[in-house]
Symmetry: C2
């Protein structure tokens, strides 16, 4: 598959996270000639938090993760691509238990210290033996520098690997945050996400990490959409190895949360940039809504609208479709207070197109790859940013043929 | 534009409705060489009911119709295609008032007896003079047999005209119901609909007609989706001229409601069959939900899913995507009680694919134009039917290029 035209041109430097190592393997579950299993192991028990899909038809692995995440502690994560092990009944649940128990005994910990994630086709029983047979060899290959290989191993319809990394100094200590993600289609907001695995060596309490992960997930992975469809398998995991020494608190905790949000936003935006068939990256900024949640839902109504997305694919500054999407969002809106700008140019206000509207600069903006839509509701102080991509022939080509 | 492959092969016989006459004209507002204005006039004051879009950014004509419909009585309907007169501010409201007042004075009635509808591009001020200059000539051409021409005059991206007609005998009297509709894109459910104008010579109270129109709209126009996008201009109007003599009540009222529902279902299904780019007509039947409203929302989650719609375009029996859509609907669902059938063949039950599933008959069904998906939740007695179409390259072609 051709690499997305929105793919980043340079690979980011991925800082190893003290206390975390990774390995990959080729299972033969589905793909040929590429690794499709990923193992992430903490040297000691790590603080963990996460978010999983709110789908009522979630996968067996998601069911498993819910109870592990509730405990706030974990040693390892085992991920496979090519089979979602979703809607696979008791066979699927047995397969998940076998994976967790085998990996736990390899690490000599309890099974509830192991997180699992699977992504790929729904409804096909999964032969976990193909995965587990590689565990012993993978354990010998664990490497703190394997984040790039790990990002590749979890891909399905992704056209490029997704990773982000940062370092911040807090209270005189250098703290690292590095993460990987996958996702390209069946990406929708307001439930949870796709797959993302983030590590840090920060010392942070399980409660702080859980609260923070929930908040930043809402502002990053829950603020993106490719097609409005929500996976059965979405999982975000943040593991903190605590190797940096002092417990984060106060302003340091806030600074760490900002850094974690920046990494999650990077990863979330990379997923949109690899949206199936995407040729344009859309940033929707909503202000003046009743509250932040209303702003996000309005942003998502715009970002999910097939008519807005196809207009952008056609480089058409069809702002009337933005009006339509605001109107259908179900949120409070007053037609006569609404302001709409595209590419920074005010187009509509006071219930109509502005008197001296000049389409030329907006038309030029539409020809670019980065499209900005700003909507002000004029009602309150609620604000949100949402990221989406356009809807092109590529999306149809990928999804009318590929059984994912 | 090529006629939809799902278009009906024969035109239905359209019975004139005693007391209702129609005329059309070419305004020059947008289209060349075709009529784009439609007038429907009752010989005497008629009972009227309707439904309009719940969009927060509704058009000026929709605002106008809300107050007229609240009165339950009307003499005429004036409709134009090519300009939606939506998001046009005070200019738009003035234009609507001018249309209603001019038509009212032509008919020698009050302006609040006139219904208006506009469909087309959003945000362009409309030159109503182009429409009004044709009113006198249209009044001289009013004809009870002009339903077919009227159906053509209200088309925008529609590839065929949509009409339905029936006659039923109630209490020894023959009652006629004839209706027309337009719609092809920006079609979404759960708000109101597109444009539909239905006439009958039944004698019915304004209260009964309003209650019945609301109920059958929910089961017809509110049960279809093309792209999940809701228009600023959706309007359904039912006019009853009362020419048949005796007031409907009791069983006759129920029988009339069934006949009206059948006409509305026909019109709603014709809109889906003309869905932008559609190559397959999808009927989704949901049973066993908590209640009927939950069943309809689950049906619409399936019918709106880009991944389900592209799988059907690709003739892929990808039932896992149906599982996904049920899971994301937000309605109560139990993965392990869910049953999914395609083309009448049971595929999944008890939280997994059935043991002896044979994909061959399902694959054959997917090659047809009429696709049936049945979902049973196993929770309650709620049921609903929803109609949708597939998502093809045609949708992208139409909407990336056409400013509608």
């Amino acid at each position: 598959m051709k690499t997305s035209p929105l793919a980043p041109t340079a690979s980011p430097m991925l800082h190893p996270v003290p206390g975390l190592r990774l390995a990959t393997a080729e299972s033969g579950l589905k793909y040929q000639g590429r690794d499709d299993v990923m193992l992430m192991v903490a040297d000691d028990i790590a603080t963990v938090a996460g978010a999983v899909t709110r789908s009522k038809t979630c996968s067996a692995a998601v069911d498993w993760c819910k109870s592990v995440l509730a405990g706030g502690m974990a040693r390892g994560v085992l991920v496979n691509a090519g089979n979602a092990n979703a809607f696979t009944g008791q066979i699927g649940a047995d397969s998940v238990a076998a994976c967790a128990e085998t990996m736990a005994s390899t690490l000599d910990v309890a099974a509830d210290q192991i997180l699992l994630a699977s992504t790929g086709v729904i409804g096909e029983p999964m032969d976990e033996g193909l995965i587990l047979s590689h565990l012993p060899a993978m354990m010998t290959r664990l490497d703190g520098n394997a984040w790039g290989d790990a990002a590749k191993a979890i891909m399905t319809t992704d056209t490029f690997a997704k990773a982000a990394s940062t370092q911040i100094e807090l209270a005189g200590e250098l703290i690292t945050i590095t993460g990987i993600a996958k996702g390209s289609g069946m990406i929708a907001p307001d439930m949870a996400t796709m797959l993302a695995f983030i590590g840090t060596d920060a010392v942070i309490s399980a409660g702080d990490l859980a609260a923070m992960t929930s908040a930043v997930t809402d502002q990053s992975f829950n603020a993106i959409t490719v097609d409005g469809d929500t996976s059965t398998s979405d999982t975000v995991v943040v593991m903190a190895t605590g190797r940096t020494g002092s417990l984060l608190a106060g302003d340091d905790l806030i600074a760490f949360q900002s850094a974690l949000l920046a990494i999650m936003e990077d990863l979330a935006q990379l997923i949109v940039r690899d949206g199936e068939g995407a040729s344009k990256f859309i940033t929707i900024t909503v202000t003046g809504a009743e509250d932040d949640a209303a702003a996000r839902r309005i942003g998502l109504a715009i970002g999910n609208s097939p008519l807005v997305k196809t207009a952008i694919a056609g480089e058409d500054a069809n702002w009337g479709r933005v009006v339509m999407a605001v109107g259908k969002s179900g949120e409070a809106a007053d037609r006569d207070r609404l302001k709409i700008s595209i590419g920074g140019v005010l187009i509509a206000a006071d219930g109509q197109r502005i008197a001296d509207y000049d389409e030329a600069p907006v038309a030029a903006h539409m020809k670019g790859q980065e499209i900005n839509i700003d909507v002000d509701l004029g009602l309150g102080t609620g604000r949100a940013r949402v990221w989406s991509c356009d809807l092109t022939h590529g999306y149809i080509e990928i999804n009318a043929d590929y059984r994912s």
